[in-house]
Symmetry: none
Subunit: 194 residues, 4 copies
DNA sequence: TATGAATGAGCCTTCATTCAT
DNA sequence: GATGAATGAAGGCTCATTCAT
């Protein structure tokens, strides 16, 4: 019986190693060493090196989405949900620097991860965002003519870029502090009020 | 005398090959073949394979930023400049599918390109965006309390994600059509008007 | 567990391949093939191709010096030791033609092996020769004003050149036969006795 | 018409470059640069890179041998000739450090130069040495039973090793000073006089 | 299950040599 | 003769993956 422990050990080791050396420079043997096992053992739990990254991505993003989904469920309306979602997005990344590094930097490996495997989980997150927006449109707190797809992508892109800048900038400020500013901006727009 | 043509030939060939096979799968010999030269010739113009990607990035993004800068200079006010910038961002990518693929997908190679070389050119683009926002704040068309840095990242992130979605979605719709929707969203916000 | 056998297998294969094709023409794959292993396996035991040559040199010369040292220890006086040393120098090379080829010809690769790695072992051999000469000077069998350093180099150079000539001349005569002639020459000099 | 000047320029440049970087690290372009010409021009005067080394060797050793031959011709007897030969051998090398480096270190490139081309010139030098020894045997100043071939090799090997040690030891002492000590040693032998 | 020694495909890069000008 | 841009063969090395133990 495959030990679920080992699986997790490997994923966690991989997050640390990818964060430290980058995906391409990381050798399977490094991950095995970090996990305290032999490199052959990796292949009892994963198909390939890429599979580790994909699985890592799926599980972490899956958890991320589940956390967000659960958190916003408790919020009373779309506005509160949106603010909570943005805040949580940043909090989760801020909480785990190695994971943030991996998600914002290492996961972006050209062809391999922009297409295919990763798209399902990101799509799921997009759905969560979109559903909040739709709820807001329906309830009238958001503009009735809001192009939800575009807004979803824009909001995700904005949050993602904020997070990337924060990681690349060596996390010199509190990411969560940016959450409300971002929320205001999206809700109220850049334009001065007449 | 070193031909300046060859440099461009190689860059152009690289864009096509990277778009087609991805950066990592692309062999230097493929680029040479696509450029109609011998592989050794590549090394008369570039240090390494990575140097091709970095140079490609610098030149293309450099041109991109220069184009945007010139275009918005002709616009009367910050509002027009912002709309023009968004529209141009999308038009440039839409005009050259191979380049769009490379910029949105292949350039993102983890460590190597998020940090270092690329940052200067992207930073330059960030400055262009920020200057438009600052101008708007000063002239009163944008909110006087706009957090310009955050807004810059958010806008860039939003445009970038729109472009990435469009590339990954096999360009099934007109990217430029999203420009005005995105502009409205940023200017007016998501919130319903009271 | 790393097999100590493999290390030796590779060294022995390398001696044969270097003797046959020369160091530069020898491909790592040739050595691997000769050793009956895959080329990647070489790199579990050696850092680089050059490392094989250096290690080969160290081990073979180290063994050579140890053999000589042990053999002369059993000789009664400096005179006997010197004759034994010369004889053994030639016998060892004569015994293993491939090794002789490698030591006399392939090891001499310009910069790489005249300086650095090899110097320690050769220096060790020089010390053995010098100690015999010093012993002879002290015991009065050699001239009291013998310039030991010069004599050491001269003797080594003479033996080395004899060996090289023998290897290059396709070993058409018995090298060991030259030992006593060389010994006499060094001991008695060229000059006619008055 | 091939300019003899260019030929010499290239040879001289090659001596300096080989001495500085070693034969293998030296690029043909380096030699061309050092000679102040284009690399293609090298091939109007030499067949291959190896040809430069071989020609360099032939010409330098040829000159060396000619010089020695002429110098000893003026000496009255075999004894004086031998001493003069040894002294000159060292003086010539001492006079031109770059050439000494190349002859003692870089010329020794395994297979390529121990066999073939170089052997003729070294053979010529061996003949000069042998003829002095033979003359000495005939005239009775050397032992009548001297094994001339062996003595020739031994003497050459001794001088060569002295020179190599001097080059490797960064020429920290005067090589010529060793000449008489070496001469005495060969003439009188190591053995104490009874 | 776990190990880790062994495998071997894969490719970037160098640089001696050529040849059109 | 002279140039130097262009050529392209060649191979050392890495490391993901396998498999006998």
């Amino acid at each position: 019986m495959p030990e679920p422990d080992k699986h997790q050990q490997i994923i966690d080791a991989a997050v640390r190693v990818f964060a430290r050396r980058g995906y391409h420079s990381a050798r399977v043997a490094d991950i095995a060493h970090e996990a305290g096992i032999a490199s052959g053992t990796i292949y009892l739990y994963f198909e390939t090196k890429g599979d580790i990254l994909v699985t890592l991505f799926r599980e972490k993003i899956g958890g991320f989405v589940a956390d967000v989904r659960k958190a916003i469920a408790g919020e009373p309306d779309a506005l509160a949900k949106l603010r909570r979602l943005i805040r949580l997005h940043f909090q989760i990344l801020e909480r785990d620097p190695a994971l943030a590094e991996v998600i914002q930097v290492e996961l972006r490996q050209g062809q391999k991860f922009f297409r295919g495997a990763s798209s399902a989980e990101v799509g799921d997150y997009f759905n969560v965002i979109a559903s909040v927006l739709e709820e807001g449109v329906a309830s009238g707190v958001f503009r009735h003519d809001l192009p939800v797809k575009t807004a979803t992508r824009a909001l995700f892109g904005a949050m993602d870029q904020m997070a990337t800048s924060w990681v690349l900038g060596k996390r010199t400020y509190k990411l969560a502090d940016a959450a409300d500013a971002l929320g205001d901006m999206f809700l109220l727009g850049l334009a001065a009020k007449p």
